[in-house]
């Protein structure tokens, strides 16, 4: 079973599977949100975002792209923006394989650094990213309620 995992670039036919995973994680059905996001990443760079295909079904996804100039950070940066692994197949290295593929693409696009942001309460995600050797950045996220 572990052998039939294929990591490949995301396509428009992964939409239903991604919506399903998100629904399992967040308990919300948000097809339009994922249509917008998938449409965005496909048109920006169709080779960038990745999915984990297990036996022909999408079991995990990771979306991101290389951009420069965000927050005055001029260097090309690989931004990791949305990801999720089906709760049924967690702990089987799908998250690691997805991030490896995404980071390899970032490197090929000339980025020397990857960045992401995590909400303080998302300890799971922070734990995973720490295991992937992400370290706190010398940046502070600030906000103001309006």
């Amino acid at each position: 079973m572990a052998d039939d995992v294929v990591i490949r670039p995301m396509t428009e036919l992964d939409l239903e599977g991604i919506t399903r995973i998100d629904e399992r994680i967040t308990r919300q059905y948000r097809p339009d949100v994922w249509e917008r996001r998938v449409g965005y990443y496909l048109r920006r760079d169709a080779d960038s975002s990745q999915v984990a295909d297990v036996g022909g079904k999408v079991a995990g996804f990771m979306m991101g792209e290389v951009r420069g100039g965000e927050f005055g950070l001029d260097e090309p940066t690989g931004w990791i923006e949305f990801f999720g692994v089906d709760p049924d197949v967690r702990g089987r290295d799908l998250g690691r394989k997805l991030i490896d593929a995404l980071l390899a693409h970032f490197r090929a696009q000339g980025a020397h650094i990857a960045r992401t942001m995590v909400a303080t309460r998302d300890e799971d995600i922070a734990g995973f990213l720490k295991a992937m050797q992400f370290t706190p950045a010398p940046l502070t996220a600030l906000e103001k309620r309006l």
Partner: protein
């Protein structure tokens, strides 16, 4: 970006721009809409793109392992001839689809769908430009007596009705065609481009990855609106209903299958190192992918129609209705959901051409009954076209033995507008000579844009 961009020599660049003015008048709207619909995306560039760092050795076929050709004369002569035909056919599809899209682009009912199709069209123009680059940046004289100017002229002269493949000779009846075409016909394009990534001619192989990145968006520009229409179709006052979508699917699916070539063919192209799959293998994968696409769209419909069902319950309901081809809780396979026609339905080329196979795969013996069956599965506006009339006449002739099958296979309907030079009064050709520049030959050199 790992691709190198260049502009065609002036005479060809001007010929394409001239063609655009006549065939794609909405092109100038793209930069006006860009920041609204594609904010911060790199601006569109009408240029040839060549991917860097591609394999240098032949990947399939008899010459596997040998260095790839960088000039046509280095190819096996048979391979060079086949490749030239592939490039001309590919160019015809790129320019042809723009002519089709343009006719109904203005009828889009949603500005975002329209902007997406407009971008698709511009990228098709770039794909056609890429093919002209392949034809004009190398010496094809060992393969053909036709001069590059004349090859380009021939491509730019084609109109809906005189293109190489039938899918590009059908007119669109409404904006639904723009979308369903992107979902089904651009998908065949994706298969062809993917197979040609291994091409033994290095410039061809290196043309594929940038085109494929654009193609991924074209498929999204088809599938995402179809998904939204399916969701909206659950409302009793929906304008674009599932039966309407179904008929448009029926119009295009067979033409898409035929773009793979005869099911029994394709071995030569693999042997010659031009593609990595035979026609039937690629076509079977395509069919499976279309089936998955319709499942996804149907599931979107089922969720909207039964909002109280959980994801798992809705998936189970859909699976049962599909397996039984039945109806449960008012959800009917026949009336509510999108289905892929049988691969032999309404076919005019290939193994099952003119075999009178119905939508569900059943065989007809009575030709009049078959024609009525096909008619009832096609959009009304399309049924009234010369294309369907021509098919019905051939189908009748083949069934009655008055038209030999081989003749029917190669017959194309003649639309009123066929071919033609530039319609401007002061010019008869698309490609016109420009002054010889001091440092270049006729029409000058390609301009390197980047990196």
């Amino acid at each position: 970006m790992a691709d190198h961009q260049s502009q065609l020599p002036r005479q060809y660049h001007e010929a394409v721009m001239h063609w655009q003015r006549h065939n794609f008048p909405d092109y100038p709207k793209l930069p006006e809409q860009w920041d609204t619909y594609f904010p911060k995306d790199e601006a569109f560039c009408l240029c040839a793109r060549i991917q860097q760092n591609m394999p240098e050795h032949i990947e399939v076929g008899d010459r596997k392992g040998q260095p790839k050709a960088v000039a046509p004369r280095e190819l096996d002569p048979k391979a060079a001839e086949e490749l030239l035909a592939i490039i001309r056919a590919q160019a015809s599809t790129e320019f042809g689809s723009i002519q089709q899209h343009q006719a109904t682009l203005a009828r889009a009912s949603d500005p975002q769908d329209q902007a997406w199709v407009l971008r698709v069209m511009a990228e098709e123009l770039r794909h056609g430009y890429q093919m002209i680059h392949l034809l004009t940046s190398a010496d094809w004289s060992p393969v053909t007596d036709t001069k590059p100017q004349d090859m380009v002229e021939e491509i730019l002269s084609m109109k809906t009705g005189s293109h190489v493949l039938a899918a590009f000779n059908l007119e669109y009846d409404s904006f639904v065609d723009n979308i369903v075409f992107a979902a089904f016909i651009d998908r065949v394009g994706k298969y062809q481009l993917t197979m040609q990534k291994v091409n033994a001619y290095q410039p061809m192989a290196s043309s594929m990855p940038p085109m494929l990145r654009e193609e991924a968006f074209h498929l999204a520009a088809g599938v995402i609106p179809m998904r939204r229409w399916a969701e909206a179709a659950v409302k009793s006052d929906a304008l674009i209903t599932m039966p309407v979508l179904q008929k448009v699917v029926n119009k295009w699916f067979g033409r898409g299958l035929e773009m793979f070539g005869d099911e029994r063919g394709g071995k030569t192209n693999v042997r010659l190192g031009l593609k990595d799959k035979t026609n039937r293998v690629a076509q079977d994968e395509y069919i499976a992918e279309c089936d998955k696409m319709l499942d996804d769209i149907n599931q979107r419909y089922v969720r909207a129609r039964f909002p109280r069902l959980s994801r798992d319950e809705a998936d189970a309901l859909y699976a049962r209705v599909k397996a039984d081809r039945g109806a449960i809780d008012g959800l009917s396979w026949d009336d509510d959901l999108l289905k892929l026609p049988h691969a032999s339905f309404f076919r005019r080329r290939g193994e099952s051409a003119f075999q009178m196979i119905g939508f569900d795969g059943g065989t007809f013996t009575d030709v009049d009954a078959y024609i009525a069956h096909v008619r009832d599965h096609l959009p009304e506006a399309y049924v009234a076209s010369v294309d369907v009339k021509h098919w019905a006449e051939l189908q009748r002739g083949v069934a009655r033995g008055t038209v030999p099958l081989e003749k029917a296979l190669s017959s194309m309907p003649r639309l009123a507008r066929v071919g033609g030079a530039c319609p401007c009064a002061n010019s008869v050709r698309w490609v016109v000579d420009v002054e010889v520049s001091p440092n270049g030959g006729l029409g000058g050199q390609e301009t390197r844009l980047s990196p």
